[in-house]
């Protein structure tokens, strides 16, 4: 089937509270292709999790999807499926079988009173019609796949270490051979050494099984190594989308450039970290125009009139690289006091070189 695996168009979500609507996600366009790793990066509260969960209709009240469309095209589906129009039963069949999620904190995402084997069996029996013996074998082979000793099958979540729990979550996510795996900050709660192992494992599994990944994180340096394409999100809106290479070497949006400036490099001359001053806006009442304006070093009064649609940066040389800022280009010089990240001190791999495919 042609077309992106997941096609999110003009997607908007609000939280309808007694105090008014909170515009958590506004007008987001995002596509994912088969076998691709798409990174979604932004600060806390930028709406990245809301976008991902909202696309699966997993948000709880008072969330409300106010516009747009989410279309799914998987290898097993007969035709494109409009997720926003599905009934509860069809949604239940779609979930996990096609789109699985690895949650941020596996301790909280695992049922405390069921053992590991029963929880994986639950997922298998819910979506696959296979015999009990086959299911048991499958559970064993899944644990082998992620590198957990089979002796842990009878264990309970609280008996496992953080890294092991995360691996269990990954094993569960892959149990039904999904098309898309959404990873919501899967390694944020882990220490760096374990983080590296898990990420290496994820990449290897992706190569082997061929699923796409939507990797949500606040750590841009991680995505520069891991992702094929990266979408930068702020205050519920996309600011820039492009390949990892494009964002690393020719970042267009001021926010992206600020993010690149916020983590140090291992090599090169020492310099002051600049970062981005200020804090994200209150989503209760967003000002018109660009939400980043108060913190932007390039801002002008004209910024309050733009419509935040994504436009190509350099259509000929960099296809697919889009930005929401009509005024700033990769070659626009940095404002005084906020120098760009030096080009030669490119960001060091956050993890070992084995990660890149």
């Amino acid at each position: 089937m042609t077309g992106p695996v997941l096609d999110i168009k003009d997607f908007s979500v609000v939280y309808r509270t007694p105090g008014g609507d909170v515009r958590a996600v506004t007008g987001v366009d995002l596509q994912m292709n088969a076998g691709e790793v798409v990174g979604l990066v932004g600060e806390s509260g930028s709406g990245k999790s809301t976008l991902a969960y909202g696309a699966c209709r997993l948000l709880r009240a008072p969330a409300l999807i106010t516009g747009g469309g989410v279309t799914y095209r998987g290898r097993r589906t007969a035709g494109p499926m409009d997720i926003l129009r599905l009934g509860p039963a069809e949604l239940q069949r779609l979930r996990w079988r096609e789109i699985a999620i690895v949650f941020q904190s596996a301790m909280n995402a695992l049922n405390p009173v069921l053992n590991v084997r029963d929880q994986i069996l639950d997922v298998i029996h819910a979506h696959l019609r296979i015999s009990r013996d086959e299911a048991r074998d499958k559970v064993g082979s899944l644990l082998d796949l992620v590198g957990i000793p089979r002796a842990r099958l009878r264990g309970y979540p609280h008996e496992l270490s953080g890294g092991m729990r995360q691996r269990v979550m990954i094993a569960m996510a892959l149990a039904t051979d999904p098309e898309i795996v959404i990873m919501d900050e899967p390694t944020t709660a882990l220490d760096v050494v374990v983080q590296r192992d898990i990420l290496a494992q994820i990449v290897e599994l992706k190569e082997r099984l061929g699923f796409s990944i939507l990797f949500i994180t606040h750590d841009l340096s991680l995505l520069l190594e891991l992702a094929d394409r990266i979408a930068v999100m702020y205050a519920g809106q996309l600011l820039e989308v492009g390949t990892a290479h494009q964002l690393q070497h020719t970042p267009a949006h001021p926010y992206t450039r600020g993010l690149l400036n916020s983590f140090p490099s291992l090599r090169g001359a020492r310099r002051d970290l600049v970062g981005i001053p200020g804090s994200p806006p209150d989503l209760h009442d967003l000002p018109p125009g660009c939400p980043f304006l108060p913190r932007c070093g390039y801002g002008t009064p004209a910024c309050t009139d733009i419509d935040m649609s994504l436009a190509p940066v350099a259509p000929a040389s960099a296809p697919g690289h889009v930005t929401a800022c009509p005024f700033v280009r990769p070659d626009t010089p940095a404002p005084p006091g906020r120098p760009d990240r030096p080009a030669e001190a490119s960001p060091e791999p956050a993890t070992s070189p084995e990660l890149t495919s």
């Binding site: 779609l94 909280n108 049922n111």
Partner: protein, 328 residues
């Protein structure tokens, strides 16, 4: 140290505190109520007199520690002294006659109410926002109504006016207690209305509590994960939500069972049911201190035992409790 051993030690400490309070209250309270009682019975047998003294704590030769020791010894031998109003009957005898009635009635009714309330609460919590929420104010009324008042109302409607159920007592007047069929049928018939009252009065409380716990549990991350996994609704409701919610609900039972039992015992008075309730009323009316103290100890120990049983159930169903070392 295993969880259950820690809890057992705790309950022993609580029992000891109850015993010690029981011992010191007569000495600590103002007034000479105790001495006036003793003065009523100058002709007591020496052993009975000593028992009474130990219970009430007066006149015993020897220091406070000796008295305390004697008191503890008596209690452990179920020797609660002589009953003042029904002299020369032993307090223990009186208790032995009434406790089975109370345990059967209150125990059965409470367990039924807890189970029914918990199941209803599971459904109400799962369908949070649905029509079941509309009956909440009605449930709250039943949670707030005193048991004995509900008993009065039900008696008025069903027994006085309706003539459906008996007006009270434990069994029909002419029968002799014993293990024969007529008596058992009559006893069950007479226990219907009291049991019904206890169930109606307490079911609302359990239901509201379970509903709240379910709603909080449904907000947990693993519930969202279960939804994301596309698991069938019934499996999620029982094995993911209810099973986790059951733990705080059981802990709540342990805390509330003291109130439920107390309320039920007072309610017995309205029905003239031959349980501890009537005994208690008579004891209070006639200032029968040994009996009052004995009743306090009996009820307290029963509640502590119930709590221990609940703890054992929790250990059986919660894998984390077995590993936990600290207090819950």
């Amino acid at each position: 140290m295993p969880f259950i051993v820690r809890r057992l030690i705790f309950y022993l400490v609580a029992a000891w505190v109850a015993l010690t309070i029981n011992f010191f209250i007569p000495r600590a309270m103002p007034g000479n109520a105790v001495e006036s009682i003793m003065a009523k019975f100058p002709n007591l047998q020496p052993s009975a007199y000593k028992a009474l003294q130990a219970m009430l704590g007066v006149g015993h030769p020897g220091s406070l520690w000796d008295q305390y020791g004697a008191y503890l010894g008596n209690v452990l031998h179920f020797n609660f002294g002589v009953d003042v109003t029904n002299y020369p009957a032993n307090v223990s005898t009186l208790l032995a006659q009434t406790i089975p009635w109370t345990i059967t009635l209150v125990g059965t009714a409470t367990v039924i109410a807890f189970l029914a309330g918990t199941v209803l609460g599971i459904v109400a919590g799962w369908r949070h926002g649905g029509w079941l929420d509309r009956v909440l104010p009605g449930l709250m009324f039943f949670q707030a109504v005193p048991y004995f008042f509900l008993a009065l109302i039900l008696l008025e409607l069903l027994a006085v006016r309706g003539h459906v159920l008996p007006l009270g007592q434990g069994y029909a007047g002419g029968l002799v207690p014993g293990w024969h069929w007529d008596f058992i049928v009559s006893a069950v018939y007479h226990s219907l209305l009291p049991a019904f009252t206890i169930v109606i009065a307490s079911v609302a409380g359990w239901m509201l509590q379970m509903r709240n716990v379910m709603i909080t549990t449904i907000g947990e991350d693993y519930m969202l994960a279960a939804q994301a996994k596309g698991l069938p609704g019934r499996r999620v409701m029982f094995s993911y939500a209810a099973r986790n919610a059951l733990l705080p609900q059981l802990q709540g039972f342990g805390l509330a069972v003291g109130f439920v039992v107390s309320g039920a015992i007072v309610m017995e008075i309205v029905f003239s049911y031959p349980g501890i309730g009537l005994l208690l009323l008579n004891a209070v009316t006639s200032n029968d201190f040994p009996l009052m103290q004995a009743i306090f100890l009996v009820i307290t120990f029963a509640v502590l035992l119930a709590n221990l049983i609940v703890d054992m159930i929790i250990v059986a169903i919660d894998p984390r409790a077995r590993a936990r070392e600290g207090a819950r």
